[in-house]
Symmetry: C2
Amino acid sequence: MPNKRPYIHVSGSQGSRFMLSQGVGYAAIALGHIAAAGGKPVLVKEIAEAASIPAPYLAKIVHMLAKRGLLATQRGVGGGVTLAKPATEISLYDLCEALDDVVVQPRCMLGTAECSDARACPAHKFWTAHRNKTLDFLRSTYVADIAAFEARRRWSKPADGPGATSLNILPS
Amino acid sequence: MPNKRPYIHVSGSQGSRFMLSQGVGYAAIALGHIAAAGGKPVLVKEIAEAASIPAPYLAKIVHMLAKRGLLATQRGVGGGVTLAKPATEISLYDLCEALDDVVVQPRCMLGTAECSDARACPAHKFWTAHRNKTLDFLRSTYVADIAAFEARRRWSKPADGPGATSLNILPS
DNA sequence: TGAATAGATGACAAACCGATCATATGGTAG
DNA sequence: CTACCATATGATCGGTTTGTCATCTATTCA
């Protein structure tokens, strides 16, 4: 339905620091779709069309997630993609790990190589605490939450106020 | 002196989401050095050697910051780089803006194009609050703070505990 | 004027991410 | 066995950031 692309399509790496990689974003939405299907295999093509994600690229992400044990794929007629474990047991953090997002690697905010509690950069104290909050969110947000959020939004009025934005997905 | 490089040198964009760009990190440390010189012009080469930053790359960053009005450069004998305004008036946020770091651009955590209060992605509420804290830190941390932090660390024992890590640079 | 100094500038390479295309491979159904 | 379907896989491309190199230009000083 939406011919306006719901993703920021950027050729090249283009940066985008301070957000998850595009791949993890795609994965999060895709797994939400798969979870919503309730165990029935879903085609990569279907997901790609529904979420306006480039299909060949999504196929590679799906393949990687299958290799890492988060998805199960089945070729041939009647095949498709299913979750390899319950939607309540796959967190955003798991997706970041599986897709090697840099957010899971401890990095200095300023890029210094030797940055630790013992030898801190000027931003170290802030960044350590801030990063922990990021990881807490990723570890406590599950594919099930994403599916529930998307399902709820589908019943709310689009572009609605509080109904569309108050969700249990939000810690603190 | 340090032949171990204090920066993570990565050829290529390599990602590094969830930190500032390498350029902003270099700029922050470089301006700390310049501020510490107390108004005397500092050579790009000196800064580069002291901080183990690639000199030609630093030269470009310095040039950009000069174009944006944060630094003043002077060629010829006795020349070098000085701050164009007081160290207490140049924030990390200013550096990010001048160097077009993506942190200053509002972006959805999951990369969706249409993400707003009205049409939120599952991470929107968390991310909005989290991002505001990031910006608060950047806006309230100044080149003067960096210079002071580096100066203090120089007097502390290297790799020391609380003395080296407790600093006024940390909000909350 | 000429030499030395120091930043300015442009060309270019490497690495990575996002994306696309074509083709191979593994399954199911008849 | 054959046709068809759906994922698997590899080649390739464009764009961005980071980094290197060579050269130009501006300034100072003798």
